[in-house]
Subunit: 294 residues, 4 copies
Amino acid sequence: MKQAVPNKKSIPNRARMLISCPDQPGIVAAVSQFLFEHGANIVQSDQYTMDPEGGMFFMRIEFDLERLDERIAQLKSDFAESANVFQMKWSLVKASRKKRLAVFVSKEDHCLLELLWQWQAGDLDADISMVISNHPDMQGIVESFGIPYYHIPVTANTKEEAERKQLELLVGQVDAIILARYMQIISPKFIEYFPGRIINIHHSFLPAFVGASPYAQAFKRGVKIIGATAHYVTEELDAGPIIDQDVQRVTHRDNVDELKRIGRHIERIVLARAVSWHVEDRIIVHHNKTVVFN
Amino acid sequence: MKQAVPNKKSIPNRARMLISCPDQPGIVAAVSQFLFEHGANIVQSDQYTMDPEGGMFFMRIEFDLERLDERIAQLKSDFAESANVFQMKWSLVKASRKKRLAVFVSKEDHCLLELLWQWQAGDLDADISMVISNHPDMQGIVESFGIPYYHIPVTANTKEEAERKQLELLVGQVDAIILARYMQIISPKFIEYFPGRIINIHHSFLPAFVGASPYAQAFKRGVKIIGATAHYVTEELDAGPIIDQDVQRVTHRDNVDELKRIGRHIERIVLARAVSWHVEDRIIVHHNKTVVFN
Amino acid sequence: MKQAVPNKKSIPNRARMLISCPDQPGIVAAVSQFLFEHGANIVQSDQYTMDPEGGMFFMRIEFDLERLDERIAQLKSDFAESANVFQMKWSLVKASRKKRLAVFVSKEDHCLLELLWQWQAGDLDADISMVISNHPDMQGIVESFGIPYYHIPVTANTKEEAERKQLELLVGQVDAIILARYMQIISPKFIEYFPGRIINIHHSFLPAFVGASPYAQAFKRGVKIIGATAHYVTEELDAGPIIDQDVQRVTHRDNVDELKRIGRHIERIVLARAVSWHVEDRIIVHHNKTVVFN
Amino acid sequence: MKQAVPNKKSIPNRARMLISCPDQPGIVAAVSQFLFEHGANIVQSDQYTMDPEGGMFFMRIEFDLERLDERIAQLKSDFAESANVFQMKWSLVKASRKKRLAVFVSKEDHCLLELLWQWQAGDLDADISMVISNHPDMQGIVESFGIPYYHIPVTANTKEEAERKQLELLVGQVDAIILARYMQIISPKFIEYFPGRIINIHHSFLPAFVGASPYAQAFKRGVKIIGATAHYVTEELDAGPIIDQDVQRVTHRDNVDELKRIGRHIERIVLARAVSWHVEDRIIVHHNKTVVFN
């Protein structure tokens, strides 16, 4: 069984805050003053104001605080007051507390393997708690990484039952779900259990080529660049907030098989990057768009 | 008045052939044997077979032939026979005979300026015969390059009349038309005069964001990459054969104005590249796609 | 004479601060508290800590303050006290006060033309106060933009005298000097007048191919990617702090002329981007490296 | 044990020719006529003339020929005559005859894993015959792919002996050697056994940062883009013919560890691409440069 090396980003006393609220003067001052008074040292701070007048304000802060473990509960409770003044939506987490992921996969293995490889190399700062698949194909490779594999077949008739079984495994056990070329549509009811916490890789440059067989669509249209898109899953198919996209040039020589081969390389890079940003608390979703502090 | 420097690609005795036909054994042999027997030296040859069995064959050849000027007519006449055997669509032109371009422009000047700059630098191997605009704004700059400028206003009522005036200037005088952010839709009747010879730059990564205000559409969708597409104009809006595309990463910080600014840089590069390929006979259109030998 | 359109970034009451100092807890709190108490609203804030323990801290803040014009002197004087506590090197400028640039050029016009074009399009938030050249070639085009052009020939014998003439034009009149393919080496004595304020474009991907004829060097080595580098000029040739670099793929088909042609496009984009960042106060130089908040 | 899926490029009757010779008229005609007369159908043909007058001519042809297996010996023997006329250096191989690779590795696994993954996915059209390492670390993972693993330690004293052992395993058994972050210098004597058939990945954008610790060198210089270079190994360290390079943007925030992490992704992509081109006979080495028909 392989062991992931310790991730270098996991500094014991480091915490991360994400904040979004209506913009007004004094937010940065209040937050940084609060942290200073509590003895924290800000090591990274990013902010974005959607529109200086009357828009939204977004902020991400990384800070170090001695004995974070024992003090984080009090810190949160103290911050809640300031947060109310500014009508903040906010989160405050320990960086060392790895997020637990479930990876969903069907028959294509490249996105899963990239996540496993980056996890093992210490580049993906998360725990992969389980892999769930509607096919048995990848049981061997997944278990060789010491990760539980659940084969839950899905047919038109058993879909509801399958999702029930999946939820039994997932709820309370994982923080986010990664659809690593999982070729089943997730029901709205399922999504409600993990709002803003299901990431999908779509094998096209959205919003081009929504739906099935995007590489065949791309070939037919004769595009000169193909791409892939990682996005949060919402009720509307392939229409959720985009996290990341990447592309590669292609030519008239590339047939559909070749586009798929090239596309696999784009997909795995884009999905792994999006998952990294999610587990490192770099993403704030606002309406149907993302603010990514990377 | 500025003078374009002589283009280094304009070698006096160089010719270019473009060929497309159903694939079968012996085409390359026949063509290269033909050229060899006529004393030509092939300096560049590219080919593409869409599908080895029963598909289409495309070829581009550059060759040097002593005293090309006096011999090209005979060469064409001789080649016509071989061409018939293979059911070829083909063209054979002197590389030194520059294509004459008309550039259409409205109020945005960046694509026009890029073409003028590349032309003046000797990078665009063509003559810019005239600029036609529905606005007077760019008359000064265009005329400072020694290029005639025709201001032909267009309104809903005068569109037909305007196209008639344009055609009077164009037919027989130019080889291709470049829509360099010309914000008017070209009528099917007009297109018939220049089939496969009108190039448009669309300010999005097609097929995403067809039609008006693509940067506003891109902002709304929250894409992480924007692009531009150069394509041949056909009857269906923004649906003609794609010649080239390029993209650039953007972030949540980029508002619509910023997307436009970034996009301008992509548009001018993509359009200039597509025009270069067209005037250097590097493009074969097949159905709604392009084969680009670059 | 052409007029630059007003730059959209020039908001009347906006100010920009750049700060660098040894890292310690409380810096962000102190600065943001200071600004809040003076009635400023932070619209953008970026920071970077070189190493959480014992390293350097760098910060860039954009803020809006009512009646900035009348209050900026007092603001600076007040801030000086806090700045001392933290041993800050800092600057505080009005965003609406455009930096004045002198562009130096020799015979290649592409970098100059790009700057003129971006300036005219309102993308370059600066005043181009003058162009100085050791050749007369570009007088016409520069003056057509309403910009003074000074032809100061340089030979081995007259170099000192030429620099003296240049300094007479420059000192007190411009804030930064842009070497837009100026093919003369600047003397250390000259550099002392504009420390950290002379930007050069080198036509290679530094540190590869330092010195003369980088494209010929690149061709000889057979690289598959070429690049360009914008950097601040220091005494050591091509060794100053790098601001930006970009690259493009090339192939065995590209001879030296073709590399130059491709390179021109990279050079002008990279130089224009570096100049933009400089005039928007996005760059802090630390030792021989740059921190770029973009 | 995992099985590589059959590579889609392995069409039974397909052959590949590589040709280089001094340029003169009639080469393409002679070759294509020869193939036509022998009943071959050219499916892909690329050529490059270094300089139309007096330069070198390079060509790559893929063709299909019925019953290739039984006829290839005769074909070669027939072609040798034409080849002599043009002073050709040439090769003619069956595409279905996979090249046998030995992969050398030390402690970093990412380049090896990428090759294994692409091989298993059917994207790398080769046999991986063995992995040789100076460390035991990767024995488990390599053997799980059904590939023999040889642990041959190397010290300053045992280097000659180690190379002798390696050669015993390699000579006659493999067609090419891939140094997948193998941290030992190969002796000139060893190289003589595999001239032009040893590919190394260097973790910098050559010729920048030759030798040890290129990421530390890159960090010190403050470059804004890092890269990796795949090249054939020659006697002079990191100076052999470059096959491919790629790069990625970095910022002041990226410390040496982060550069290494980003670099790993570039290295594995670049090496895998170079190996693919080598095994698909797409590369011709001429002096110290490569012609790559891809």
